[in-house]
């Protein structure tokens, strides 16, 4: 190990020593915490950007923000939430949990792991540095060419945006490679690939997807930097470049990205539903196969973001079919979660409460996805507020609710303290109500013809009422996030002591102390089934008889 173990009290007494410890750490658990803390900070920043956007759209022809500021805000909101909140928080949670789950002492490449985190953070800072140069990029997170060419976006903000994403992409890629190496090479004795915990399985496939999907993004980012700074013409349509090339390559990354943001959450849900239903995960093999199927199919659906670009009907049809096919393995997952709950004895402690929220709302995001996949209807819905409603149901109703479930689930392991259930319930219900109030009306305003990314609208269009509901909903969500942060800060010193295994769970992380020592396990455990702790707790009826 590169860093000597420090006694806890000493570290907390000496501020600089603690700082030194966190900055130089290569411990997967500390890096995981760093990722999550960074992501939560970016979540707050991105959330504030969203609130400003909503305040501007509260009334027609509002002059709270001008067009430039508004366009910068939605660009930064999207970029922040996808690259500096969504991916880092999942990578961070995976970082913390995966080595513990598979019974090993660290990630395969601890120094690369540390580099991945710092590079991701610097990428984020680089993008935000654009504010210091006079303003953020105003190109949308999808940055369609040729609006990003120097002719149309003249400030350095677009360059900083592209460079920041290239840099953070290096971090994401190293994290993915690290997960693949760790999961394939460092599992506890006896833990064959068919016996790995489901969250680990989804982290493996997410990583595979990152490795496949991120290079095209890096490539086009480099190309646009060349266009802007070295006089290349890849996307410069006035000099023979192609606007469509950007869209194809961007969505070849951008659609798998959605699954990168949801697959680990599927994994968390697949851990939490069984533990809180007191039943083994129903249909593990089918769930596992469905995960792999989602990864492969989702690599061939990208142009459903581009139905309106004027492709031929045959091309449209190809992407209709592939996009609808994704719904089959996703459905399999959903039905298996329900089957796991069915006949169980479900306790609605905070992790399961968030999972219930996840299940009830991710379903809606999935079904509106089917509507968008029906290409002709997409001609109406694409680039309208309906799409904004749809993907927030997937990314908040899905990813964020799942992430909160995971945080409430593993917080006792990470800190040794329980989060306050009472505050967790307030957080959940405010978020649940506020979220629906924000995003259900967006579907309506989209159907009523309101396009995305407009900084204002006329009063005569019939959109004001729906926009007011949306803004009120956004305000209702605010206290929920405040309560979450308060709960974490309050529970760290004062929460009820958790013990090693507060949820009576079944995977290896619950065998070690809370928080785990830097070496994780005194003795590397040996595994015979998917639920090693079930075997331990039920020696008369172990799982390996059934797998």
């Amino acid at each position: 190990m590169a860093v000597a173990e420090q006694p806890r009290e000493l570290a907390s007494r000496n501020w600089t020593a603690a700082l030194h410890d966190w900055v130089t750490t290569v411990d997967h658990k500390k890096i995981g915490i760093l990722y999550v803390v960074m992501a939560v900070i970016f979540l707050v920043i991105g959330g504030c950007e969203a609130l400003l956007i909503r305040w501007q759209l509260l009334v027609p022809r509002n002059d709270f923000l001008g067009p430039d500021v508004f366009n910068q805000l939605f660009t930064m909101h999207g970029t922040t939430m996808v690259f500096f909140m969504g991916m880092p928080i999942l990578i961070g949670m995976g970082n913390y949990v995966v080595p513990l789950m598979i019974g090993t002492r660290d990630m395969a490449f601890p120094r690369l792991n540390a580099m991945g985190f710092w590079v991701t953070l610097f990428g984020g800072l680089l993008v935000y540095f654009s504010y210091a140069t006079g303003g953020a990029p105003a190109i949308g997170w999808f940055a369609y060419a040729p609006l990003t060419e120097r002719t149309f976006s003249r400030t350095a903000a677009t360059d900083l945006w592209a460079l920041g994403l290239i840099v953070s992409g290096i971090g994401t890629t190293t994290a993915a490679i690290n997960f693949i190496a760790t999961i394939l090479g460092m599992r506890a004795p006896g833990m064959t690939l068919r016996k790995i915990p489901f969250f680990t399985w989804t982290m493996l496939w997410t990583s595979v997807q990152i490795v496949i999907a991120l290079p095209p993004l890096t490539a086009i980012l480099i190309m646009i930097v060349f266009d802007r700074n070295l006089g290349a013409h890849f996307f410069d349509t006035q000099n023979g470049g192609s606007a469509l090339l950007w869209q194809h390559l961007f969505w070849f990354f951008g659609h798998p990205e959605v699954y990168i943001l949801i697959l680990p959450v599927f994994g968390m849900v697949s851990e939490i539903v069984p533990v809180f239903s007191r039943k083994v995960l129903f249909g593990y093999e089918f769930m596992a196969a469905a995960t792999a199927a989602i990864v492969f199919i989702s690599l061939g659906v990208w142009a459903h973001h581009m139905f309106a670009v004027g492709m031929s009907r045959t091309e449209d049809l190809f992407f209709v079919v592939s996009s609808l096919l994704v719904s089959i393995p996703t459905g399999i997952k959903f039905f298996n979660w329900l089957a796991t709950m069915y006949g169980g004895r479900i306790s609605f402690a905070s992790p399961m409460l968030f999972v219930a929220g996840f299940l009830s709302m991710f379903l809606i995001g999935g079904l509106t996805g089917i509507m968008l996949a029906a290409a002709p209807w997409d001609f109406q819905l694409t680039d309208s507020y309906f799409v904004v409603g749809h993907f927030h149901f997937v990314l908040i109703g899905g990813t964020l609710f799942g992430v909160f479930a995971g945080i409430h689930y593993w917080f006792p392991k990470v800190t040794g303290r329980m989060l306050s259930e009472r505050l967790a319930r307030w957080q959940f219900w405010l978020l649940y109500v506020g979220f629906n109030l924000t995003f259900v009306p967006m579907h309506v305003s989209g159907i009523l013809g309101m396009p995305r990314r407009i900084y204002t609208y006329d009063a005569d269009r019939g959109w004001d009422f729906w926009n007011q509901l949306t803004t009120v909903g956004a305000l209702v969500q605010v206290p929920s996030f405040v309560i979450f942060v308060v709960n974490v800060i309050w529970s760290l010193p004062r929460g009820e002591p958790a013990g090693d295994d507060p949820w009576n769970a079944w995977t290896l992380e619950w065998t070690t102390t809370s928080p785990p020592p830097s070496y994780n396990f005194e003795e590397i455990p040996t595994v015979r089934s998917r639920r090693p702790l079930w075997d331990l707790k039920h020696p008369d009826d172990p799982d390996w008889n059934y797998e």
Binding site: V309, R313, L317, I332, Y342, G343, L363, T382
Partner: protein
């Protein structure tokens, strides 16, 4: 609050832009598809949420039953196959109806020929306004250019009057969207896309650019005016004429031609031949200014304000304020107001 704002917006009644209120075959086909898909997904939604809520209520942990673990069920191949096949069948149904609608909506436009009653217009998206280059109507070449308000003829009884658009962009990506007429089609630089619609319903149909295209994307508004065939014919005749020459506006015309207006704008029949900004030949035949933002009032008040300082009305737009003297500005406005 909203009645007040409505008054502020010029007393217009609320406009209908609903995709569920189609007046043209492509938009109708899409609405029919959407109702079917909505029914299917609505059914799935109700069934799955019902199962979820039932499980939550029925299998909730209660006091007194927390002793033993419930029976462990590891899975079931027949059940898994069932809930793989059932969604696959639903997907198949959706694919079939989607294909049918796709073939109805995306139609390659026929060649223009005499007696076809069809209108062909080339739409050029520009930051942040629309250029309409009228090609043919009923097989006849038209050859004039206008902006922001697309006039089309209404279909009457059994005479369909389809409108075929060629969509191009002069700068960045845009998207043509008038929800009640058809779905969106993007305008992409370096490409020519096509779309069509036709309607028997006369009146005004609103839309706007639906692809983010820079600072004033929100105000790249779009108006389609559906005229009766006779009104449309009159409108065409007027548009095809060169700009009117009124003796009373001679001073204004001279002032206009002496300013840099003519570098970007065109007035047919004069030496103002710019092709970068909206064609002004028949400016006063349009209802609005600044691509649908403000009414083009007959008194010219808005026109005067617009010329004085376009950046306060449409911040970031590509027309600068030229700092004209009040006298020059008034003369130019007087001239432009004659361009009916």
């Amino acid at each position: 609050m909203s009645p007040v704002l409505l008054l502020a917006a010029g007393g217009q009644a609320a406009q209908d832009l609903s995709t569920f209120d189609p007046v043209s075959p492509p938009a109708e086909s899409i609405r029919n598809l959407s109702l079917l898909v909505l029914a299917i997904t609505g059914f799935i939604f109700i069934v799955v949420e019902a199962v979820l809520i039932t499980s939550i209520v029925r299998f909730r942990q209660r006091h007194g039953n927390d002793a033993a673990e419930p029976p462990q069920v590891y899975g079931s191949q027949p059940i898994e196959i069932a809930w793989t096949v059932a969604p696959a069948l639903i997907v198949m149904v959706i694919v079939l109806v989607t294909t049918r609608t796709l073939w109805e909506v995306n139609v390659k436009p026929p060649e223009a020929k005499p007696g076809d009653n069809a209108l062909y217009v080339t739409v050029v998206g520009r930051q942040w306004w629309w250029e309409f280059d009228y090609g043919q109507y009923n097989g006849r070449s038209l050859g004039f250019v206008t902006a922001n308000e697309l006039h089309i003829p209404a279909s009457v009884e059994d005479v369909a009057r389809p409108v075929y658009l060629n969509l191009k962009s002069a700068d960045v990506c845009h998207s043509f969207w008038v929800p009640r007429l058809a779905g969106k089609t993007d305008l992409i630089p370096g490409r020519t896309n096509q779309m069509w619609f036709q309607t028997a319903e006369r009146g005004l149909f609103l839309g706007q650019c639906a692809e983010f295209c820079g600072p004033q994307h929100a105000n790249m508004l779009l108006r389609v005016v559906v005229d009766s065939p006779e009104d449309f014919r009159k409108w065409l005749e007027n548009q095809q004429k060169p700009a009117v020459e009124e003796a009373s506006a001679r001073d204004g015309k001279a002032a206009f031609l002496a300013q840099s207006c003519i570098n970007c704008h065109r007035v047919r029949g004069t030496r103002a031949a710019g092709n970068y900004a909206p064609d002004l030949t028949h400016l006063m035949s349009r209802q609005t200014l600044a691509s649908g933002m403000i009414p083009n009032d007959p008194d010219g008040k808005n026109l005067r304000d617009w010329i004085a300082n376009p950046q306060t009305i449409k911040p970031g737009c590509l027309m600068p304020a030229f700092g004209l003297s009040d006298r020059d500005r008034d003369r130019i406005v007087d001239y432009l107001r004659t361009l009916r």
